[in-house]
């Protein structure tokens, strides 16, 4: 236990060290080449912009995070329901699955304008974008899990006289939880992209995507970089949460 903690602490240390080296090199490049700040601001300028606009960035970050989280939860829920539906109904497998496979090939970013057209400038189209991104990995991973229940479990349940739905609830779903967790881990980190693209297209005056566009348009590149940093932080946090949750789910059910 102690050694594991030490290793991860050392890991954190080396991560911080490499970030520091990156920042130093970045600042040095900017200083030595004399690049204009409106082309590439150094990290110090970005930090200043972040500090100066912290309330505004915080507010927009909150909006974006809300879109991501709501999209994540909805996409997860609908994905789980779809997977169960597919697993329980051979007719659904025949008719719905090819459509899903086709839809998976659709570049959803191209749909952002039409989503805005349909749903207006509010949060809804951004949530749907985030949702679409998590929906497919979750659906296909969970569906695979549900179809790959160890046959011995099903044999045992049959000799015990379990009904189809009890087998689903008490055997197939718990056995598929690790697969669901891997779908979640896979998809969660991409949801911020969906939300931000939604914000770029459907300028609602809110969200980090909107703020980035605004800063870019006014040549406030340091502010734009500050938004990118915050977005990266949100993504990393999301990755950690999804990883932690996925790990817990996997350990509980396998």
């Amino acid at each position: 236990m102690r050694s594991a903690g030490l290793v991860s602490l050392r890991g954190l240390g080396s991560v911080l060290a490499s970030i520091l080296i990156f920042l130093v090199v970045w600042e040095a490049v900017v200083q030595l080449t004399g690049l204009k700040p409106f082309l590439l601001p150094g990290p110090l300028r970005v930090a200043q912009a972040l500090a100066a606009n912290i309330t505004s960035i915080g507010w927009h970050a909150l909006v974006t995070s809300t879109e991501i989280l709501v999209g994540l939860v909805c996409g997860l829920g609908i994905g789980v329901i779809t997977a169960i539906q597919l697993a329980m109904s051979p007719a659904a497998r025949v008719h719905v699955r090819p459509i899903l496979v086709f839809l998976q090939a659709v570049p959803f970013f191209a749909l952002a304008p039409i989503l805005t057209f349909w749903m207006g400038y509010g949060m809804a189209p951004k949530i749907v974008m985030a949702m679409l991104i998590i929906y497919f990995p979750v659906t296909s991973a969970f569906f695979d899990g549900l179809m790959r229940t160890p046959p011995g479990y099903l044999d045992l349940a049959r000799t015990m006289g379990a009904s189809r739905w009890t087998v689903l609830w008490r055997v197939r779903i718990p056995a598929a939880v690790p697969a669901l967790a891997s779908g979640l881990k896979l998809g969660a980190v991409f949801t911020p992209i969906g939300a931000v693209i939604g914000e770029w297209v459907g300028g609602s005056g809110e969200g980090l995507g909107y703020l980035m566009l605004l800063a870019n348009g006014r040549a406030k590149i340091d502010l734009m970089f500050a938004c990118v940093v915050i977005l990266a932080v949100i993504t990393v946090l999301l990755y950690w949460i999804a990883d932690w949750l996925g790990e817990r789910m996997t350990r509980r059910f396998s």
């Binding site: 045992l156 055997v171 718990p174 059910f253």
Partner: protein, 246 residues
């Protein structure tokens, strides 16, 4: 008294014979061993009796001596323990009741877990148990079902030699009053446990006389050794491994 069973018929898979016409008797409150090499159709017979076989075409009949249908009266134990990793030993023992949405008789389950020697491990999950302990838990789950007919598909074959002997002793003791069909490829196991021993080879089924003492027999008894050698010789006969006959 649990029923005796009789299986008569043949099975095929996509027009290919899995086993040719045969007749198998499984005595009431006895251990019937079905011994044979892999791929000869032993497990198919067990799965047919368990009502689990969907792939094969079975042409024949399976009857219980009391004329009652078999579904709901068999318990099944496989080579792998089939413990659910998200349930602890108690939860796995109570699985049948959970799956039928019945009230769980926890105190009976606890008593059975104690009888198989897992009282100290009742709240542990399968990954915290050794292979032998896991098979004990599977035995507790099988006993919990309290069915007159017990179907065992090589349940001891993955255990180490010492644990296997222990599990055979325990199973023989706890399942003494049931009608048991044991599918195995281990002559020593059949010689120790069988009231009757049926040898299943590619050319059909034949009965081999068990050692003249009552099971469960000591693994080092000379008559067990003799029976074991005889079974081994029959298994090694040139045509024994021909696989399913067309």
């Amino acid at each position: 008294m649990p029923p005796s069973l009789r299986l008569e018929g043949s099975a095929s898979y996509r027009g290919r014979a899995v086993f040719r016409p045969l007749s198998l008797e499984i005595g009431s409150a006895q251990w019937t061993c079905l011994l044979g090499p892999s791929g000869v159709g032993k497990t198919t017979i067990l799965r047919l009796i368990a009502g689990l076989e969907d792939e094969c075409e079975f042409d024949g009949r399976i009857d219980a001596s009391d004329g009652q249908p078999l579904p709901g009266r068999v318990a099944y134990m496989a080579q792998t323990d089939l413990l659910f990793p998200w349930l602890d030993v108690l939860g796995n023992t109570l699985l049948g009741a959970r799956l039928r949405r019945e009230r769980s008789d926890t105190s009976r389950a606890e008593a059975l877990i104690e009888r198989v020697g897992l009282a100290d491990h009742i709240a542990k999950r399968p990954h915290q148990l050794s292979g032998g302990m896991r098979q004990r838990a599977a035995l507790a789950r099988t006993l919990m079902e309290d069915r007159p007919v017990i179907l065992l598909d090589e349940p001891f074959s993955a255990l180490d030699a010492r644990t296997r002997v222990e599990m055979q002793d325990l199973a023989a003791e706890l399942l003494a009053d049931r009608t048991v069909l044991l599918v195995t490829h281990d002559p020593a196991e059949a010689a120790r446990l069988g009231h009757r021993i049926h040898l299943m080879l590619a050319d059909g089924l034949r009965e081999v006389a068990p050692p003249p003492i009552a099971p469960i027999r000591a693994y080092d008894d000379p008559t067990v050794f003799a029976c074991q050698s005889e079974l081994m010789a029959l298994l090694r006969a040139p045509d024994a491994h021909a696989g399913a006959v067309r």
